[in-house]
Symmetry: C2
């Protein structure tokens, strides 16, 4: 049985309730060389205790120390590239190139480095100094560990021990208890080992980074609700996310979730007239990316019925039929997708392409296109929005613009919403009608571009209203905005000056940190 990472040591799990192993999705073979423990509460309690101590120690460190740790960790990952991408490929079936080696791993180290820059800069901590009132405030670390639950679909960039939530929580000054996804445990071990080399090289508290692989669902809920745990970051499915949210909400622990999204794409008549074939190719490409296992996969397209809508559907279906199905992440994936597709057909959707578990060597499902009318979609709008986590797209045909707007009005909260319109602006009034309804239902609004690219930009919002996430104010991608989630607002009222944190003392701690002094944003000292 593999050890867990507890308080700086790779330690045997105490009283595990069982074990799990990974699969090679490309061959469907179990990877039985390594068994990973299903942690009991003993492991989690020990991590909480150690994490609390680490939080207290981190609170005494200047942000530069944390920044140096994050950069050192990124450097360490740069030394392991070949092994990391090889193991991640074995455990996830994701292609070594370009995906893992040229896109996701560089993105991951880039995020760690951006979080380091943010930690050092500190302007995002919103330091406010009111000299007349004698009050100063800032966003501080939370005072305890943060649990980060990573998803199956990004073994590096969203990994609990290396990804966006990890970088944000650490960058904000909190220790992390990572739950590795059991779909890529060895990958996670390698990441955690690199993290520990960085912890040691930079003299960080030993429990700054801890990791376990799996626990029983009820213990995950107990962890989320434990008073020592100060926040949760979660990326995964809606069922588990909703249960964790409920557990954390009940005790008022901040929880930041990314749960599900159908990422609707509205293709207005003008766009279809201009470039139906081109958009069909784009939609297929976006849908099939990563075998359709992106949080921002466009699972829903809405088109206005017109001569070009028929050719659009034909082109989309042809692309689906002629493409080799991608490899899915887990043994359960094909059945799960099939179940959702069957459900959609049961609600009246018509199958145009795919619709079957693929007969490939690995876990796979045929690229699938379904269609339905807006009237039928509106009748069964809740079921019709069920996310199929694979290359499945439901195209809703609206009789006119008004029906398309009606579809927009019943959409749940989504990460993204996209509108394609005529290039010459002749359907801008249609754009406005759809946008007005769509804008407040999505975190990121796109024009003329599929939503699967999620740039690590300070302007990125990888968030959106429930049930896409738990709160419409926050993004899990985009630095420094993602860091603020893992802080608390702290005021200091009449606190003696030598007791203030350095960021709130009269002297600007870096010379470049933006602070509001008497209602003016400045990098100056308090005069």
């Amino acid at each position: 049985m593999e050890p867990i990472l507890l308080n700086g040591q790779w330690t045997a799990s105490q009283n595990p309730s069982g074990s799990v192993h990974a699969f090679n999705p490309s061959t469907k073979e179990a990877i039985t060389e390594r068994e990973y423990p299903i942690s009991s509460w003993d492991d989690l309690q020990a991590m909480l205790d150690a994490g609390k101590d680490a939080a207290d120690q981190l609170a005494q460190l200047e942000p530069d120390r944390i920044a140096t740790f994050l950069e050192t960790y990124a450097d360490e990952l740069g030394k392991d590239i070949e092994q990391l991408v090889q193991i991640a490929n074995t455990e996830t079936g994701l292609p070594v190139e370009p995906r893992l080696k040229n896109v996701e791993l560089p993105r991951t180290t880039n995020q760690l480095r951006q979080a380091a820059v943010a930690a050092r800069d500190g302007s995002w901590r919103n330091a406010v100094i009111d000299t007349a009132a004698g009050i100063r405030s800032i966003h501080n670390p939370l005072g305890g560990p943060v649990a980060v639950f990573g998803p199956n679909n990004f073994p590096f960039a969203f990994n609990g021990v290396a990804g966006g939530d990890f970088a944000a929580a650490i960058g904000a000054g909190n220790p992390v208890i990572a739950k590795a996804h059991p779909g890529h445990p060895h990958t996670s071990t390698l990441l955690a080992k690199a993290a520990m080399r960085a912890v040691e090289a930079t003299g960080m508290p030993k429990a700054t980074v801890q990791m376990f692989y799996k626990t029983k669902p009820e213990l995950g809920l107990k962890l989320a609700a434990h008073p020592t745990l100060k926040a949760v970051g979660f990326t995964g499915g809606r069922g588990g996310g909703t249960r964790l949210k409920e557990a954390a909400d009940r005790v008022g622990t901040p929880i930041y979730l990314e749960m599900s999204s159908s990422n609707p794409v509205f293709i207005l008549r003008g766009a279809l007239e201009d470039r139906a074939e081109e958009i069909a190719a784009e939609l297929h490409g976006s849908c099939a990316l990563g075998a359709g296992q992106f949080c921002t996969k466009p699972g829903l397209a809405i088109v206005e019925r017109c001569p070009e809508s028929a050719s659009f559907l034909t082109a989309l279906s042809e692309h689906a039929k002629s493409s080799v199905p991608g490899t899915l992440l887990t043994p359960a994936s094909p059945d799960e997708i099939d179940s959702t597709v069957t459900q959609l057909i049961g609600e009246g959707a018509e199958l145009l392409a795919g619709g079957r578990i693929a007969g490939t060597e690995g876990f796979a499902y045929e690229n699938t296109v379904l269609t339905t009318t807006a009237a039928q979609f509106l009748r069964e709008s809740e079921t019709m929005q069920t996310e199929a986590f694979g290359s499945v797209c439901l195209v809703v045909v609206a009789e006119d613009l008004q029906e398309a707007v009606s579809v927009a009005s019943v959409l749940e909260g989504n990460l993204t919403g996209t509108i394609y319109s005529a290039q010459d602006g002749r359907d801008d009034s249609g754009y406005n009608a759809v946008e007005k309804v769509l804008r407040t239902k999505v975190g990121r609004l796109l024009n003329d571009k599929m939503p699967t690219g999620v740039a690590v930009s300070p302007a990125m919002n990888h968030g959106g209203p429930f049930p896409a996430t738990g709160h419409p104010l926050f993004t899990s991608v985009g630095i420094p905005a993602s860091l603020i989630r893992f802080t608390a607002l702290h005021s200091y009222d009449n606190v003696r000056s030598h007791r203030l944190p350095s960021a709130l003392q009269d002297k600007n701690p870096t010379g470049s940190m933006l602070r509001s002094i008497d209602a003016k944003w400045t990098t100056e000292d308090v005069s």
Copy 2:
């Protein structure tokens, strides 16, 4: 039966389930001239529908329009001062001067004006422009009405139709459905009438401000969970707040609550040696302010046992005994306080002063001082932290500093935490030990000063960890920080430039709005 304010009209309540009237707490007399409806769902549904329309209209307005409305509202309140303070005094028993006329009403108009400045400025909306990635983001209004539930203890400054949450929600661009507190309905009517004059004078959407007085608890929960409602602001007790939070959380609607707080004051040995009598007087004054009905009332004091701790307790008790009890807000208040005091005594607290319903003309309870040992407090720490919403203070005597730190470690989340220490710094090591534990449990940390003053400062945090509020990241007082709560983060990815909101277009919309352009905060245009 008095009408409700629905979509710009004072309208008869539809199918009310009953009616309520206010009391004059100073005379215990019912104010029966005006009966206020207990609204059925008909009223609330109509408000939601109208509020949604208003939200759509508000989204099209430039922030300057909203700012002008808020300023006009403040001006209108300035015309009604005498009537407002007279009626508020009759309904709440709070003194006309200085409290209502010289403190709370000016504070309320000041908040409205500060929210106007923030709305016009917009820098707090965190506009981020990444020209290389083609992504721009900003905090936008929520796309639907916000419900604001006001408390009983501040008829102006926290009123659902005029107070801090109102100013923040409107300043951020959202219409408000206010639930007036039925303890001061006529006051709320006068405020709402002034708001409507401002709505009309500035041509705002009619349903920008709506108000009802009371509804059944289950309909309050239904309102909080309704998909048209986009956020909730609540100030009140823990029971109602917790139930509303659960309803809103279940559907992922942001809810911002201020629920309860014992506001612990740690008085270290050095401070007692230096100035025990003085601190006893300060503590009594803070406790008795507003008859102890402040959210930040120090209900808990922790002292180290020393020669001066005994004289401190004596002085505090003498102040309590020699002061006339203040008038409480509601007929139920004396019994509620008595029940909590009885409970504390039942858990082993010793009564030093007060402890009985006062024999005064109005609703009142004697100024009450209780004491217990740290050991006993630690045994019954949950009950011992029950908030008595009146002039009641429990003084916990710790045998030494370590016991005081142990008390800090079992505290729930609080709005404030205060430490008094020696003026010459000789007990700074004790300060550090307490502060380390206390800091992450409170929103505002104070030195040498009682917590009841809540300045409307941009550095104020009137917030704190659960159960003081619902989330440690937010403040309900302090502008512009309080506005951000009533927004959603919106990215625009590849959106054509003429479709961007003005705040994200290349040209700086005001010439002075701070925006991040390619990672540099600036008031310049995009070049």
